[in-house]
């Protein structure tokens, strides 16, 4: 039986770590939790201030994937084909998105009411997409009343 405690790190691909910092730290307000020159790579992680989950900003390449595979990863990333990077939570999704838009962040979906809260979508400069979610008061509970409201509100969705 496993006995894990948490997810401490996950990783996303970026094609330029300095540009990634401009976006994730400069525009999103995350902070650098590690920036270490390992010789073979720059170990660069970010986190939400105060949070213990770290995201490695990794560039395709190094001794892992072949040069050809690295090129394929860069191609897929720039096409938005590598899937969702992560979900950030906030107390005020609408205000957050308005602030990010004013900073030039690409908003792929405006804040939308959902059973699980209010969420929106953004894309980073490299093609990763992220969700910004304002969790509902009761997460993960889909009572008949909630679902009924969801159905009723669906036509007002802006996605």
């Amino acid at each position: 039986m496993t006995n894990f405690n948490a997810i401490s790190h996950s990783a996303i691909y970026v094609t330029d770590q300095d540009a990634a910092l401009e976006f994730y730290v400069g525009k999103l307000g995350m902070e650098v939790s590690a920036d270490v020159d390992l010789g073979v790579m720059r170990w660069l992680t970010i986190c939400v201030p105060g949070d213990d989950r770290h995201v490695l900003l990794e560039t395709p390449g190094g001794p892992g994937p072949s040069a050809e595979a690295a090129d394929q990863l860069r191609d897929l990333l720039s096409k938005g084909a590598l899937g969702m990077a992560f979900i950030l939570t906030t107390d005020d999704c609408r205000r957050t998105i308005a602030e990010l838009e004013s900073k030039g962040v690409e908003v792929t979906q405006q804040p939308t009411e959902q059973p699980y809260g209010i969420d929106a979508g953004i894309r980073d400069p490299f093609g990763n997409y992220l969700r910004i979610t304002q969790p509902a008061a009761v997460m993960g509970e889909f009572t008949p009343e909630v679902l009924e409201k969801y159905k009723a509100d669906t036509m007002g969705m802006s996605d």
């Binding site: 720039s78 096409k79 093609g127 996605d159």
Partner: protein, 154 residues
């Protein structure tokens, strides 16, 4: 360092995001090409090279996907749903829907009523998109690369 092809991909993605965001609007090729900073003919050709389908087909499948969701999750009249997702007539919507999904909108609603779940919208939009029905003629009508109103309202 971003290569020329990556930069081009990223600009095409920006235009595709605009279609996902504003699928119900009367989008046209000139405005999408401007988002991608390319000429109209170049946009249509490059979009297809990048994503495997023309902008017109992409937008149509997005609209049908949204209509499928509304049919599953709401009790709204089908005509209202057709208009809400960007079609201008019930006839065009119904014909396109049947050709893409394989059943009529009302049949689809009956089969999937109440089938909604808690996944974030982005995943629903990605996974509920109707797949192309191989071996059958498409109603989308492939793009004429010089037609400026290629993706105007259906």
């Amino acid at each position: 360092m971003v290569s020329a092809s990556e930069d081009q991909n990223r600009r095409m993605l920006r235009a595709r995001d605009a279609m996902d965001r504003s699928y119900a609007e009367p989008l046209d090729v000139p405005s999408l090409a401007r988002i991608a900073y390319v000429s109209e003919a170049h946009f249509i050709r490059t979009f297809k090279e990048t994503f495997g389908e023309t902008p017109h087909r992409y937008l149509q499948r997005r609209r049908i996907e949204r209509a499928m969701w509304d049919l599953r999750a709401s009790g709204k009249p089908i005509t209202d749903i057709a208009l809400a997702v960007g079609f201008t007539s019930l006839g065009t919507f119904s014909r396109t829907f049947r050709e893409v999904v394989g059943v009529s909108p009302s049949e689809y609603r009956t089969r999937t009523a109440g089938d909604v779940g808690p996944a974030p919208t982005c995943f629903r939009m990605a996974w509920q998109r109707p797949r192309e029905r191989h071996g059958e003629a498409s109603s989308f009508g492939e793009a004429d690369p010089v037609a400026p109103d290629l993706v105007s309202r259906s």
